[in-house]
């Protein structure tokens, strides 16, 4: 029997607290609000990848009837900041300005207009005359570092750029042991380079924000954000107004995936509200989303791995070249995560990371589900597969033999913190072995790996990959929650935690209900209002269940204590003679008082007080959830088309607070990961213009594209987590891409070293492999080694 089966609310498939209203179309998203006299904002964006604004003339736009406010570099104070919605002190450089005299990528901000109607705003934007001095652009990160390359950030007032003259945003080095020594004494060394392309979050709800002035002349921003508190702090900086004049509200959010961790548009609406005193709304168009929002950072990663005579891994070095695009948002920290997670998964004595993030004149990288881990695991898990095959070992067993275990130190955790030194950690719970076993059995690994290779046009293969993530940022992230009791025995939970469609509100209600033995319906959740709820770093880094859940649990335990004391007093026994059960305090002799009676007593009858508590939670450990993921594919050797037939995920997220929601997280992340694996890629012309500007061209998976998806939740009990829980939202996106690439190799014997695995790449690789390719001699040891 699993430990979670003793719980009443945790571990159950409780329907979401908000599901019914969403099903009725009554969920209030940012845009579902009408304010009298609301203006619409539009943004004029750069047509050039790199240019200086020589002249901007808004006079004709100003004359237009119905134009309320025009913003550009001449009318808005110049303050360096970063739109990356991170904690303080911010690890990303302050290298952007609300409006600048320079534009650094196609789609960069030039000016904004707020007007009575969207049509007038658009007309006004068309009337703004801009004269540009077009500058040479650089699109490749390697070229950007070369002496004489155009300098993208030549402004004097940017802060904390590593080396602006060489376009280097950040440089990161970390090591454990002596890798060079280990590689030189290895019996074989493998060196491979992997490329991962640009992809987009493509949440169905675009970025949207409304702002208005309240009766106290404070600016209220209602925005689809993952980070309401960071948003308030960053707005105070960029608007140069006191933080206390800002209130940020997060209504329902229509998906975030990291894209809404960015303070991308809130400054614009706040500026207009402050200047005009009128409500204003801005929603990015889908075309804007697809080139002016954020992306997953493309990485070019070289791995070198050495094995001894027995085939054991003795050293691994990782070199990352990250394309950060025009600004350095999340550039450093995404590389930290890529290195930390990928280098920690296996027991390898010597490790090193050298990572450089570089500016180019392309769209800007940002936080994206997995946050560097997918860019770390595609190279790692492709190479491990290649090594195992080369050594004639079963990749599943090879992984299991090297996998990190419970009690092992996390080798890079101290060196690779959140852009500063982190903390020593060891692995607590780990279900990685069980994930490998369970997933392997589910896809029928042994049988399928040993099947006779196909001969026809369509060939099948299976591949696997493993991964690990974290649960919050150790020593940095903090979540707080408040809990207040009402006369009917219900509770108001107020938390900074940010539900962006993940089910956080429901998860918190379940945790509180579990701790208090009440029903989930008796917990009224109100979250993400910087005036009324306690602080929370926000929805990122897989922190919500672990940290916000931890805070809610603490607050509930405190409240339970207060309830117990009053209950015992009402029953006229000592606290040691009572316990709490089904929303009652029960004495050992069987008498009981209900939560409702207790609350009435505390509010009205005797020694009155409010039963309530506020609690905070942070952690110096970030327990990793683990995954083993398996793909079965069919490759058409004539066209190179890869069809995914079956995808199995075995995930260790500790105790799943709500298994149905956890399954949903796995399914959604896998599908997003499969898009990354085979179909999604933002592409650009030679001058840096985006080519794919709608969702027909930028192809995210549809209901028809999907294989059979199988998910297994492998339960472990994480002692440091609330009721044994760890994180779940990011881990399942980490390994679909390498699992698919490895399955392609199993099917047709070619390795694809870059994402996405397109038909063209597969077809070309098959051609290169040559007509000599004969299915009868499927050569799994094709890869050469450098000894």
């Amino acid at each position: 029997m699993s430990r979670s089966s003793q719980f009443q609310s945790v571990g159950r498939k409780t329907p979401r607290v908000d599901a019914e209203k969403l099903a009725l179309g009554r969920g209030t998203f940012a845009d579902d609000l009408e304010l009298p006299g609301m203006l619409t904002l539009g943004v004029l964006r750069s047509p050039h990848a790199h240019a200086r604004i020589v002249r901007i003339d808004t006079s004709r736009a100003e004359e237009l009837d119905g134009v309320a406010c025009i913003l550009h570099h001449g009318t808005v104070e110049r303050i360096a900041y970063s739109s990356a919605g991170q904690g303080h002190p911010e690890p990303s450089p302050w290298d952007m300005f609300a409006f600048d005299v320079k534009v650094r990528h196609v789609g960069d901000r030039v000016a904004a207009v707020a007007a009575e109607t969207p049509e007038i705003a658009q007309q006004a934007l068309d009337l703004i005359e801009v004269e540009y001095e077009v500058l040479p652009a650089v699109l490749d990160p390697m070229e950007a570092m070369v002496e004489g390359a155009p300098v993208i950030h030549d402004e004097e007032d940017a802060e904390r750029i590593h080396d602006a003259n060489r376009n280097i945003v950040a440089h990161l080095q970390a090591s454990k042991g002596d890798v060079e020594e280990a590689l030189s004494s290895a019996s074989r060394v493998y060196e491979r380079t992997y490329e991962m392309g640009y992809v987009q979050h493509a949440a169905i709800e675009p970025h949207i924000a409304l702002a208005w002035m309240d009766e106290d002349d404070r600016v209220v921003v209602r925005t689809a954000t993952q980070v309401p508190f960071h948003c308030r702090r960053i707005l105070a900086r960029v608007l140069n107004i006191p933080l206390k004049r800002i209130r940020v509200l997060k209504p329902r959010v229509g998906g975030g995936f990291g894209g809404k961790q960015e303070i991308l548009i809130e400054d614009l609406v706040a500026l207009v509200a402050l200047r005009t005193g009128r409500p204003v709304r801005y929603e990015m168009t889908r075309a804007e989303e697809l080139h002016a929002a954020r992306t997953r950072h493309p990485h070019r990663t070289t791995l070198r791995a050495g094995v001894d005579e027995d085939g054991r891994l003795v050293g691994l070095s990782m070199n990352i070249l990250e394309n950060s695009g025009a600004y350095g948002c999340h550039a450093l920290t995404v590389m930290c995560v890529a290195g930390d997670k990928a280098l920690s998964l296996y027991r390898i004595p010597a490790l090193s990371l050298d990572a450089i993030a570089v500016y180019t004149n392309l769209p800007v990288g940002g936080a994206f589900r997995g946050y560097g881990a997918p860019q770390g695991f595609f190279p790692l898990e492709s190479l491990i597969d290649e090594i195992a095959n080369d050594l004639g070992k079963d990749p599943l067993e090879y992984r299991r033999d090297h996998a990190i275990r419970s009690g092992d130190p996390l080798p890079m955790s101290k060196a690779l913190g959140e852009g500063r030194e982190g903390f020593e950690q060891t692995i607590g719970s780990s279900g990685l072995f069980e994930c490998i076993e369970t997933g392997g059995a589910s896809i029928d690994w042994k049988t399928k790996r040993s099947r006779v290779p196909g001969k026809g046009r369509f060939r099948r293969g299976v591949g696997m990959a493993c991964a690990m993530q974290g649960s919050g940022i150790p020593g940095i992230d903090m979540a707080a929650a408040g809990l207040k009791m009402n006369e009917d025995g219900s509770f108001n939970l107020t938390a900074g935690a940010t539900d962006i469609g993940t089910g956080a509100d429901t998860m918190l209600a379940q945790i509180v209900a579990e701790a208090l033995t009440c029903s989930v319906e008796d917990v009224l959740v109100y979250t993400s209002d910087t005036d009324l709820t306690p602080f929370d770093t926000g929805a990122y880094a897989s922190s919500t269940t672990y940290l916000s859940g931890g805070a809610a649990k603490k607050a509930a335990e405190d409240v339970k204590e207060q309830i117990t004391v009053r209950g015992a007093r009402m029953l006229e026994v000592g606290v040691e003679d009572v316990h709490v059960e089904q929303a009652h305090v029960v004495s050992t002799d069987g008498r009981k008082v209900s939560f409702s009676e207790i609350c009435l007593d505390t509010l009205y009858v005797e020694e009155q007080f409010q039963i309530q508590a506020v609690a905070s939670h942070m952690s110096y450990v970030s327990p990793p959830p683990f995954a083993a993921q398996f793909a079965e594919v069919e490759v058409d050797v004539e066209t190179g088309i890869v069809r995914i037939l079956r995808f199995v995920s075995a995930i260790d997220c500790g105790v799943a607070v709500n298994p149905q929601m956890a399954e949903g997280q796995v399914e959604g992340a896998v599908v997003q990961g499969l898009g990354y694996a085979i179909s999604e890629e933002m592409i650009f012309t030679e001058d840096g213009s985006p080519v794919l500007l709608d969702l027909q061209d930028y192809h995210i998976p549809t209901a028809r594209d999907l294989p059979e998806l199988v998910g297994h939740l492998v339960e472990t009990y994480e002692e440091t987590g609330p009721f044994g829980a760890k994180a779940v939202a990011e881990i399942p996106i980490d390994a679909p891409a390498p699992a698919v690439a490895n399955a392609v190799f199993d099917a047709v014997g070619v390795r694809i070293y870059s994402l996405p695995v397109t038909p063209e790449k597969v077809w070309r690789a098959l051609q290169r492999k040559g007509r000599s390719f004969s299915p009868d001699t499927k050569d799994k040891n094709r890869a050469t080694t450098r000894s």
Partner: protein
């Protein structure tokens, strides 16, 4: 002046000629219908016009004269959900819920056309509605469950 039936009620509107049905609905505070692209790509804005699922962002309000329009608000009420809505809630097919109204309307059209759809039918019907959260697994499950329940209720 355009006259049409909106969820069974006759409405008369005088909207600018370039307004889409989506804009008209939202300006009238019928916020159930969502929008993710306003270019016919995402399906979040799907409504039924004379029983057919169409993207309301590409449907001109003026073209609706004499037609029957159905939106998510016409499906069920609090405490009295339509079987499709109930199934979406029960199986956990709603994550952020932004695509949900579009999914429901596309599914409703399907179930009226094919009361006992196969999984492939459901996938086809939902293909026009993009969802970035669920991976479509649970929405497909929900539609099949709703179909089954509605069949049982009939028999």
């Amino acid at each position: 002046m355009t006259e049409f039936h909106l969820n069974g009620q006759l409405v008369r509107v005088d909207s600018p000629v370039n307004w889409s049905l989506l804009r008209l609905l939202r300006e009238q505070r019928w916020w159930g219908t969502k929008h993710g692209c306003e270019g016919g790509e995402c399906g979040a804005c799907a409504v039924l016009v004379d029983g057919r699922a169409v993207p309301s962002c590409l449907t001109l309000a003026h073209s609706l004269h004499g037609k029957r329009v159905e939106t998510v608000e016409g499906l069920g009420k609090p405490g009295d959900l339509h079987p499709l809505q109930e199934a979406f809630v029960d199986v956990g097919a709603i994550q952020c819920g932004y695509c949900t109204p579009g999914m429901l309307m596309a599914s409703l059209e399907l179930l009226r056309r094919i009361p006992d759809p196969t999984e492939a039918d459901v996938r086809d019907a939902l293909t026009g509605t993009l969802c970035r959260c669920t991976g479509y697994v649970k929405p497909v499950e929900a539609v099949l469950l709703a179909a089954q329940k509605m069949q049982e209720e009939l028999s």
